[in-house]
């Protein structure tokens, strides 16, 4: 078996010059306890987890940051819930203060029901944040043109959805994801829609450089086991893509030769 060391592209994901130890990014939303979160982080092998900002609870601050520190992962703040470029930009700036990072997972959604991104606001926010020095990772839809425009304004990666957040429907339009990957000059991270390990493997096989997964793991019956499953799926997909799969054929190809068959 070819050693993974021999294949630099298998060595992990690089975003904005920073090498991540894993192609799997983990969303922290939805875990029922810090223990389950910590276990899932460990099982996933992830190096980066997302967090959000909400009004402080004066009654008692959680120890989320402590948990993440103990797990040794970096924090990627998001702008979840923002509907306008203005909101998202301000939220990103708050996040920079809160976490001392200029990385931001940019979310600008179009409505509460679908949580789908708003292309126009998203692009405007991305441009402003890039100008302001942020490393912008935008959650986007599966439109190849928008993905390229996000790259053109300087985003460090693009994060197209497979299907709506939390839906678990997997990748509704693999064709579009392939188009995005084929033309991207920055890493493509499949974000949203993953339901299970095979979805993650498929994302990588289609050409994605990474996968961000939240609900599929945090809301699984056994989050840590699913974290490990998705991590293995990512790894499987990565090896499979590098291995050069057979082409799909609409006819059979014998795996045992006909020649020499005895006449009995």
């Amino acid at each position: 078996m070819p050693s993974r060391e021999a294949e630099p592209r298998l060595a992990g994901l690089e975003i904005a010059g920073r090498r991540l130890a894993s192609r799997l990014l983990l969303g922290t939303g939805g875990f029922q306890s810090f223990e389950l979160l910590a276990a899932a982080i460990g099982a996933s092998g992830t190096a980066v987890v997302t967090v959000a900002l909400r009004r402080i609870d004066p009654a008692g601050r959680g120890s989320l940051i402590g948990v993440l520190d103990a797990a040794g992962v970096d924090v990627l703040p998001n702008t979840a819930g923002c509907h306008t470029a203005r909101d998202a930009v301000l939220t990103a700036r708050l996040a920079r203060e809160a976490f001392a990072t200029d990385w931001i997972k940019l979310e600008v959604i179009g409505d509460e029901r679908t949580l789908l991104p708003d292309a126009v606001e998203l692009l405007a926010a991305a441009e402003e944040l890039v100008d302001d020095g942020f490393v912008v990772l935008p959650y986007t839809n599966d439109d190849p043109i928008l993905a390229r425009r996000l790259e053109d304004v300087g985003c460090a990666a693009v994060m197209p959805l497979g299907s709506p957040i939390g839906s678990g429907m997997g990748i509704c339009n693999p064709y579009n994801i392939t188009l995005i990957c084929d033309r991207a000059g920055v890493p493509v991270i499949l974000d949203a829609g993953i339901g299970t390990a095979s979805d993650a493997a498929l994302a990588i096989e289609l050409g994605c450089d990474g996968v961000l997964c939240a609900s599929a793991i945090s809301r699984a019956r056994d989050p840590a086991a699913m974290a490990r499953a998705v991590a293995l799926g990512v790894e499987a997909g990565e090896l499979a893509r590098a291995a050069g799969r057979i082409e799909r054929r609409s006819h059979a190809v014998a795996s045992t030769p006909e020649k020499g068959r005895p006449v009995l």
Partner: protein, 65 residues
Amino acid sequence: MIVLNGSPRDGTPSLGVLLDELGLGSDARGVAVAVDGEVVPRSEWDRWALVDGARVEVVDAIQGG
């Protein structure tokens, strides 16, 4: 009067005093502050004055997607 995280509150303390009351020093991790739609850099928390009616948002890290 100021508005802290959407709730009116008597008095117009300085931001530093307000954060002290919340138990937040300038080394509080995962916390950020905006006043009237402007983010207040952590280094200026202590000396930032609040005007009457100021809308103060103090946010904290939570689990999220």
